[in-house]
Amino acid sequence: MFRSFLSLRYLLRRRTNLIGMVGVFVAVAALIMILSIMTGFLRQTRDVLRGSLSDIVILPALPPGHPSRGDPRPILAAVRAHPGARAATAQLVWGGILTQSGSRMDPTADCLADPLRGSLLAVRLVGIDVRSAERLAWPGVAAAILAAGGAPPPPAVQDEFDATALLAALLRAEESGEDSVLHARPRPVPVANALFPFASPPGYRPSGRPLPAVVLGEQLFHYLGLSRNAEIEIVTAVPDPATGEWVPNNRRFVVAGTFRTRDNEIDLSGMYLDRGELADFLGGYRPYTQVVVRLDDYEADGERVEQELLANLTDRGLLGGRQDEVRTWEQFRANLLAAIENERVLMGIMLSLVLVVAGFSIFAILSMMVIEKRRDIGILCALGATPAGVMQTFLMIAFWDGLVGSILGAGAGIWLAVKIDPIERWLSDTLGYQIFDRSVYVFDHIPSVIDPLAVLAIVAGAFLCSLLFAAVPAWRAARLEPLEALRYE
């Protein structure tokens, strides 16, 4: 009985003991906060990257002359027949260099001379299928088939919007900027109608034949200081089918608006246009380069579906026979994801050192206390306490330190993790210094995800750490020769 009573009394009457508790509190709160932020970082990065990449990407390496090289429909049909695939669409991805119309080649020359600008102006042209017109007409068509007595087939319309998150990225571009002065975002420039992104923008008055429309990544758009309806010129090169020599080619486009995936890489260099338009620009060299697939449940069976698609398509002779022709989105960004995961683990290890420091403070305070309380230990022995009882009394002090410190620390850490965004904003506004530069990262707020298992592990770890560091002084207390203390004053 006296163990818990005395340990609590020592804890409350000797304020230095609370330093150990505060140490555990700070360590646990910091660990939970940082790990929550890193987990949030990882999860949000995955979400963002996945949104712009779809689930599975098929890059058929077919030899020239193969019929499926010029027609994505066999592959699309094979993929769509797989029960795990929800939607698939063809994309034509090609590289290009962007120049602003009017000044002709000068900016391109600049960009070739200036490596920093050069990297920006090299753009990734993505030709996509948008079949909104068919989609919107489908209910009418279905009604007509039904009226004619036939059973309407399920809608076969599958386009970019089904397979990737482009529609969300187009709609996201409509969102206005951030609230704080420090976090101001440029004026949003969305497309007029996200369902028809490549329609001629309203107010566009072409002097001659209307130019095909493109949609740019928001950051690229603002970096170039463009406006809607601005004309841009793209330079690219394709091999001449006859000679095999690379032939440069250029074409002018009109800017219809922007998209925002929040993935910097894509927002800084991506440019979407109609697949047919891009194929035409490339002189019919390739009508598509890849097929992107959205699965019903990627997390559950992504790897399995990937393997099955690979086997399936190979069996039908629709792939070139290489192993990397079917990839998951994670394989595209494996390095970035692994880097964040590494950072998370390293942060955890580094912050665990804070816990060790807290443990050492418990160790130091208890060691001092054992020396200071020598006489009390002698008295307790005289009154019938066993060495084990004395040891437990001192262990109990660390027990309370660990218990209260880690539970309060968990509460504070969770609160900090949940409120980190407003806290950071308030700090940034108060100090006039931007702590978290949102333009550097993929997202516009500090993400945080609380993992209950991690919280439990941290609390348990902190608790055990306190006990572990208290074990040595407690053991010393039990081995003290109490008589020395009792005999003399």
């Binding site: 009985m1 009573f5 009390d376 008295i379 022995c381 005289a382 009154l383 019938g384 009792l486 004053e489």
Partner: protein, 244 residues
């Protein structure tokens, strides 16, 4: 414990006995022997004064008799049983139940109030559940005991807020709380002025008579020794004379 006869019976079996007890301390290279073969009997209900000059080994003997210190040679018998054959836990339990200590310097725990200090032996001796269930009874008893020693209005004072005499009364109440058969007092008035010391001693002797305690009182004051039933004189680590 309550069944044990508490009458002064020098002819019967001693409740506490020392048999050829020696105690030596290592002082660097040399060993210093403080007790050179002490024999001592304490009979039930007996009040014995242990007198002698400073350094004669009185306190060392008392600590050995109180099971706080292990003799280098010889043995201590409690109720006829060799206590050093018992386990550490058993000896701790004997200290808790059978033996009460009163020290010269009171030795109260400074973080605890007077009442809590008195309750400490019960807290140590009983498990949490048992103590919880008897908590009210214990507190009433502790209040009564302190009240009997004139400390009724200072129950919640901490030792630092009490005078020397008051502290010693709290220490006495603590020593008697578990109703031990044996009380060992090591110069209980050595640190008090004469008037206060007299009052404390009166209380102590009254309790001894009332409870028929077997008690050893260490002192170097002849007047105090004369108030005891028997005096044992120690000199240079040996018992010199046992006078009635």
């Amino acid at each position: 414990m309550s069944s044990r006869p508490r009458t002064a019976d020098p002819g019967g079996r001693p409740i506490l006995a020392a048999r050829d007890v020696r105690k030596a301390f290592a002082m660097g290279e040399r060993t210093l022997e403080i007790l050179h073969g002490v024999d001592l009997d304490l009979f039930p209900g007996e009040l014995v004064a242990l007198v002698g000059a400073s350094g004669a080994g009185k306190s060392t003997l008392l600590h050995i008799l109180g099971l706080l210190d292990r003799p280098s040679a010889g043995t201590v018998l409690l109720d006829g049983a060799d206590v050093w054959n018992h386990s550490t836990v058993r000896r701790a339990a004997l200290r808790n139940r059978e033996i009460g200590f009163v020290f010269q310097f009171y030795h109260l725990l400074p973080e605890l109030s007077a009442l809590e200090n008195v309750l400490l032996p019960a807290m140590i001796g009983e498990s949490r559940l048992v103590f919880r269930s008897r908590r009210r009874v214990h507190r009433t008893r502790a209040r009564e005991l302190l009240g009997r020693f004139g400390m009724g209005d200072r129950l919640h004072h901490r030792p630092s807020q009490l005078s020397g005499g008051e502290r010693q009364r709290v220490a006495m109440a603590r020593a008697l709380f578990n109703d031990p058969a044996i009380l060992l007092a090591d110069e209980p008035t050595g640190n008090l002025d004469r008037a206060t010391g007299e009052k404390v001693l009166d209380l102590l002797f009254e309790e001894q008579r009332h409870r028929r305690l077997s008690m050893i009182l260490v002192t170097h004051d002849e007047r105090i020794a004369r108030r005891c039933g028997r005096s044992i004189v120690m000199e240079d680590g040996q018992v010199q004379a046992a006078a009635r």
